[in-house]
């Protein structure tokens, strides 16, 4: 790389890195994410407070119960009750 091009590329990458710091990281802990509001009753992986855990959900598409889904696919999931959510409601 020529120096001037390299400098520009670095600066550009830094600018976009700084802009994406608040977004989900490329350094992933998991290749799944917790997706709320998409699990059928009894099919949830776990939940926030409402019931003990896996398989205990009593409602289809309960917005407080999640299902582990491949990372990045949650909010694009459509149910009769609306889209999947990354936070419980």
């Amino acid at each position: 790389m020529k120096n001037s091009i390299a400098t520009l590329a670095l600066a550009g990458s830094l600018a976009s890195a700084l802009a994406t710091i608040a977004a989900p990281s490329a350094f992933a802990a998991e290749n799944t994410e917790k997706c709320y509001g998409v699990a059928m009753k009894g099919q949830n992986d776990c939940a926030a407070g409402k019931h003990d855990c896996a398989g205990k959900s009593t409602m289809d598409f309960d917005k407080g119960s999640f299902k582990l889904v491949p990372a990045g696919t949650c909010t694009s999931m459509k149910t009769p009750e609306g889209h999947g959510m990354l936070m419980p409601a």
Partner: protein, 251 residues
Amino acid sequence: MSLGTQRQFAAALTDPAVPVPQGLTAWNGPQPQRRFAVYRNNVVSGLTGAIASRFPAAETIVGEAFFSAMAAEFVRLHPPHSPLLLTYGDDFADFTERFEPARSIAYLPDVIRLEAARGKAYHAADAAPLDPAVLAVLSPERLADVVFVPHPSLSVLRSPHPIVTIWAMNAGEAELRPIEAWVSEDAIVVRPHMTVEVRRLPPGGAAFLQALAEGKRLAAAVDIASEDASAFDLSANLAGALQTGAFVAIR
């Protein structure tokens, strides 16, 4: 107790084949063998327990019985050199690599290395992660020559096995399920605040972070990472490094 007796005492502690040191006496009889056996057993089970508490995911993978037998063999061959148990087991991964009964579990040593890195990060000095604003005010010309100071808790690991996935599943961080994509995984282990974080690194990420941690300039680290993986994404890796707190300062 003479130095010779002490040496003999220490050798007999971890090796049952070595006879009980001369001159020992016991409160309940002239034969100290049984009392010495109790002490010997306590030493080995204490050290085995220390190893088990440092490598819980490895213990889950191979099962308690296998793990304690393997750890006892390690204790026998590698007794601690320091009274600080927090570093005991740093070479446990290398031992398991050569431990014949564990040969079939090719990924085990790397999972143990990951757990060792977590222990190291846990006990490392506290340090505040680099504030991204420090980079934002740098002039573009300065950027290529920037050197990053690694966080005291930082480790970067590379493995031909999916070690982060295997570790997460056996540490209770992820649901246990078949691993469909048996791919190599690189990991970053760091403790920016109170919690030790383990993250999977994108292509070239490990080479990038290792180069920076060694004190290479940013431009050189980018070249190394691009050579390591053509899919290396500089902006995603920079963002990841800043998010995880892998570095504390720039020079």
